[in-house]
Symmetry: none
Subunit: 252 residues, 2 copies
């Protein structure tokens, strides 16, 4: 699905700070986007500041195109989504970034060109510009301070686009990164017997009054889901512990 | 669920650019986060540049705390997630930002303090710092250019935390059957020091050739997220083990 990102364009409308254009390039490139169009930029596009902010994404900065206005910037697009503060006065179809990414990818995967549009630093998109969009996209923000930097907004949307592409493709999990599967039931029971013996030998567990100790330890170790190598390490430790308890360590 | 955000801390380790600290404040505040701790910052925290970047989030900048290192910054935290490039050489539990947000909120909603940790601009977190984390979080990025700005990374995670709050999509199973919260970072580090000593005493760990043993054991025990009672049991076992190794058990 990552190839669909080639059909997604970021459009910045009347950006006034060169730094934000550079940061937007960096945000896009980290997520695999590369089509940037600037609608009537109000600052130098390629400058020391924008180059520094773009960091290794200066190629996007050099390649980006300008257009006189939003309409020209998105003229070939089949789907245009415009970033907006939530408006209740004149509601438009409204998507959060995750929904916007899914909608955008569905179109992009059919080779349709899609634009995600971001407005001016202080005032966003005008009502006329918002009315050129198929839907509005809203980043849910703190109502007491909703002022995302424009490049940060580009970062969030670019990230959601990449996540949507990767959905189901990358295996992330709490216990996923395993080199081997968890130990078998038999291996775990062998470990617990061994553990119990060692605890008796070091006089931590009183076999005549065991209480809940072994159950507490079972719960703890089972929660960790040790693999075979880990069980072998733990049993190696127990073997040495038993040896120590019997006074058979080499004298120091 | 938004109140849970009060229990989530952002930790920046050895940040070298004042601008990034300001931008991180803005990123946090837009998403409703306000607890920022700087571990050994390498630049002025409050400066003209950081104030300008913080924009209306200068209150966070003024309030943020500093700590001499990561361990101090997260000493009271029950869950520590560290941002990392994906490593295949010594894999740790790995979460994407969405999973990390869910895991963090599940803990935060139980009043546990959670830290999301971000490393140096050029080199990220060290291996020692990563080994202090329960899991690593990885922002899936373009393999050809994966260099997210640190404040952009904070923006993405803060956004995911807010989305998770708003969607009510928290997986409570993580922290379900627990009688008490996980042990603090300081308690876990105390346990690991104790464990290392015991392993040397029983001659299982050669201090002159430690290899990866401690890291393997750290990963195993951190995965289990022991609570305070469990850590106390484990340390009771270690105390008896050390006693056994010194030949001080009562003769049978």
């Amino acid at each position: 699905m990552l190839h669909a990102l080639a059909h997604i364009r970021i459009v910045l409308v009347e950006t006034s700070l060169s730094a934000n254009i550079g940061s937007a390039c960096r945000a896009m490139k980290t997520m695999g986007l590369n089509d940037l169009v600037l609608a009537n930029p109000q600052c130098d596009v390629v400058s020391d500041v924008s180059m520094a902010r773009a960091s290794g994404a200066d190629d996007l900065l050099q390649q980006c195109r300008t257009a006189p206005n939003l309409a020209e910037a998105v003229s070939d697009c089949a789907l245009v989504l415009g970033a907006s503060a939530r408006s209740r006065s004149f509601p438009w179809p409204l998507l959060n970034p995750r929904q916007a990414a899914q909608k955008a990818l569905a179109a992009a995967s059919q080779q349709q060109t899609v634009a995600l549009v971001f407005g001016r630093e202080r005032s966003g998109l005008t009502n006329d510009e918002l009315a050129q969009c198929h839907a509005h996209l809203h980043i849910p923000a703190n109502p007491d301070y909703s002022s995302l930097n424009v490049a940060s907004a580009v970062q969030v949307l670019s990230y959601e686009l990449r996540m949507a592409c990767l959905a189901g493709e990358v295996d992330y999990q709490w216990s996923a990164v395993r080199e081997e599967p968890p130990a078998s039931h038999t291996q775990m029971e062998g470990f617990f017997s061994h553990l119990e013996q060692a605890l008796v030998d070091i006089e931590y567990l009183d076999p005549n009054n065991p209480k809940l100790l072994m159950n507490r330890l079972r719960r703890l170790y089972l929660r960790a889901e040790p693999d075979t190598t880990e069980v072998n390490i733990l049993r190696g430790i127990l073997k040495q512990t038993i040896k120590a308890a019997s006074g058979k360590l080499k004298p120091k």
